[in-house]
Symmetry: C2
Subunit: 233 residues, 2 copies
């Protein structure tokens, strides 16, 4: 019966992490819409949602803690719970990056619109997709999906490098839009960070999921005398 | 006897986290020196050390895992171990930020030196001190020290805002150094991120240390029927 309640707890944890992922993704998408439409109201929505995301992070951490305190989990569940707390932090920071984006957007809205050589929506879509897929790879326990996310990161990095070169040129050619170009460049950086967080999640999936595969048998035996910690001392 | 080995494990975990903190701080300091002296060799040292920092992160995570798997920790130890895994991630990313700094420095070294209105060493010193103090607040279990770190973050944010304004003006006035100014601005952003990671660590200290204080008695009783998870379902 204890085991059943524990399993329910794991399901709850999984569910909460998915909700958290949804909030983080929504923040990126809204920030991008705010950029496209120069929409101050949508900026405020992202700012207001940050505290919701922070609260969700703490709730997940507390639930993870409770599950660990409730009973001695098997190694595979332990790895799952630790991975959740790691991924949780990254999702919260995706929310932070979205806040950084709308701060730049709010600066841009005050300035005359400028035609800039950068495709922010494309970067936002790619970064946001990486977060979603990284989270899927975790929920489905598929390290190969996580591997695909790592490869997507190069694409976003390339977009950022291109943006860097094109926007530097723009600043040189049209100094009157330097500030707008700089804002756009920083938005690109923030989106690159979102992609980095997705990469972190994917790396954690590979580390924890593979680890769970490799160490599962040892774990089930759960013999403390055979435990790796002994080998280390 | 099990308990003793567990305590040794906790000490080892603490020690490894301190070493990790030292590596992260060193990376920031070296990156800053590389900036000041336009020193390519020092840039390479930071790049080479990144894999060491990554390896240290994984080792700490594995040790945390082993400790959790070894025995059912008391709540206070459980909170400590979970906090370690969180702080560990932030320290690893301080290392990442240092790599980002030297990438910009390597770009600057290729360009003619420019006199820029930004005090990078001051920002680096402040950010690096925040990381050190955040880690100290954790090791000493002092939430009030962590609170002080949170207040330092405003100082670094103000430096970044000033740099943003001054460097934008510089780009307008002297378009020939736009690229150098942009590099310096991105270095400032990276140092601001280092400060953000210190802030994350401090927040975790407050959350986990305070939580441990508040919940310690419940934890020692360790009664699963009274456990908070029951209240949630």
């Amino acid at each position: 019966m204890m085991r059943t309640r524990f399993q329910q707890g794991l399901d709850e944890l999984r569910g909460k992490l998915l909700v958290m992922g949804g909030l983080a993704e929504q923040a990126v998408d809204r920030a991008c819409q705010a950029y496209i439409e120069r929409d101050l109201q949508r900026c405020h929505m992202v700012l207001e949602n940050e505290s919701r995301i922070n609260a969700a992070e703490r709730e997940i951490d507390e639930l993870a803690f409770d599950l660990l305190a409730l009973q001695q989990p098997m190694a595979v569940d332990l790895r799952f719970i630790l991975a959740v707390t790691k991924i949780n932090s990254d999702l919260e920071r995706v929310g932070d990056q979205s806040v950084n984006v709308v701060e730049r957007v709010m600066d841009m809205i005050e300035l005359p619109p400028a035609d800039l050589p950068i495709d922010i929506p494309r970067m936002a879509t790619a970064s946001s997709a990486m977060v979603r897929r990284a989270l899927e790879s975790f929920i489905e326990g598929k390290a190969e999906l996580a591997q695909a996310v790592l490869e997507m990161d190069n694409v976003v990095d390339r977009m950022r490098d291109e943006a860097f070169i094109n926007l530097t040129r723009k600043m040189n050619d049209s100094p009157e839009v330097t500030r707008q170009a700089l804002d756009a460049l920083l938005v690109a950086r923030n989106l690159e960070r979102v992609a980095d967080h997705a990469t972190n999640i994917a790396e954690d999936v590979i580390f924890w999921v593979r680890g769970a595969d490799v160490r599962h048998n040892v774990a089930v035996a759960n013999s403390s005398t055979r435990h790796p910690i002994v080998d280390r001392s």
